[in-house]
Symmetry: C2
Subunit: 233 residues, 2 copies
DNA sequence: ACCTGAACACCGTTCAAGT
DNA sequence: ACCTGAACACCGTTCAAGT
């Protein structure tokens, strides 16, 4: 068995705390146990240190959260920076690549939205998206509207009001329970039993996300074409 | 001056606490001072009672938040229930009416998304939306995808990653500061100075919201028409 | 049946003290 | 320069006690 005496350099307490290590540990902790488990005390514990030591590397909880978001958005930039090509396919691929990153950090969207300070990595991401729109022939105005229309989908995620209602049991059973009070919902749920190709009854998040992105990108492209046509006339 | 003796029925402590009063007070408090100010202690204080008394009318903080959301969604149902007509205009008007309600309760979207229990008023709202789609000739599948595509916009709101960056000072000044690091963002911001009709530089939330809703509704209608065409062929 | 006071287990954070 | 222990001001919540 290996000795873990104070001279052993592989032993935990030897590696010194740093801002970098604190932030990485916070992201890992949030990935594993959820953002609500990221408290100064548990984070310190994970790093083998008292909570108060963290304040030497981070100015407080808000700063910690700001920098955690920065790390995640930097990951998005790394994953999407190289993606180029004609604007619709490039935009689509970037958005889906961003989505993959966020699926690894499910706490990130909510934290991102709670931030009030702007983030340099986020600026860089939008810088690159705007470049794509402009190269695709979009006017300033249409680019602006397009960013708003995509909203958080530009970053690869979306909020849905029924986020947690997705682990449904057999939709047919539920449909019968709801038939009295909610006939339309019940009929919708029953749709799945009559049509074997239906995607109803379970929700394929990836499909639904792409479905919505495609509607938006198609619509935006149509508006750009119209814009180009009126401009040249 | 009026006497406020113990026999005066108009004096505050006389009106007894009730579940209804607790919930109304909580919504009012959140509207006025933000959701973070809704603590059991401050809510009790507002009602002239100790925090612990609230537990006689509400099973806890989570229950309180559930019911606060229910109140707001009920308001949406009241505002939208009567709106009928051909599906695009009816859907559009309902969504915009829901938006007006949520603009009066800005804390509601975030709380709604943090809920894990499903809400009867929310079910009723979706029941009515689904009815609109079905009456408009949408298949079960397309109705399902449509609800996902609309996402929270079906309820009249949307999350944008730059929510707080909207009280910008002069966009031209910002553009110059950003020109070095973010040339595309800067160019976008400068667009406003070259085009007097541009909507850039400030963000008209209502315009942007309707812009996105219209893209989605147009796209959905197009898909429905295609669906109807293939079905009848 | 409803309300209260004291207490508990958690937060983030400050500060004086250690090395 | 970095880490610690004790303390403070907040949370939500429990519980025994009052009326």
């Amino acid at each position: 068995m290996t000795t873990t005496g104070p001279a052993d350099p592989s032993v935990q307490p030897r590696v010194p705390l740093s801002r970098e290590r604190v932030l990485r540990a916070a992201v890992d902790l949030a990935d594993e146990s959820g953002i609500e488990s990221v408290t100064m005390r548990t984070l310190g514990q994970r790093l083998g240190v008292e909570a108060m030591s963290l304040y030497n590397h981070v100015s407080g909880k808000e700063d910690l959260l700001d920098r955690m978001v920065d790390l995640v958005v930097s990951e998005i930039n790394d994953a999407t920076g190289e993606i180029a090509g004609d604007w619709t396919t490039a935009m689509r691929r970037r958005i889906l690549a961003a989505r993959e990153v966020l699926l690894r950090h499910r706490w990130a969207p909510n934290v991102l939205e709670s931030r009030t300070n702007d983030s340099a990595p986020l600026m860089r991401y939008y810088e690159s998206l705007i470049g794509l729109f402009r190269a695709g022939g979009f006017s300033n105005d249409l680019t602006h509207h397009a960013l708003h229309a995509l909203g958080t989908r530009a970053l690869g995620y979306t909020h849905e009001p029924f986020d947690d209602a997705q682990e449904l049991p057999d939709p047919k059973v539920i449909a019968q329970q709801l038939a009295g009070e909610y006939p339309n919902i019940a009929a919708l749920l029953e749709g799945v039993s009559h049509d074997p190709d239906s995607t109803l009854g379970w929700c394929d998040d990836q499909f639904e996300f792409e479905f919505a992105v495609d509607i938006l990108l198609d619509g935006l492209e149509r508006l750009r074409d119209r814009e180009l046509a009126t401009r040249s006339s």
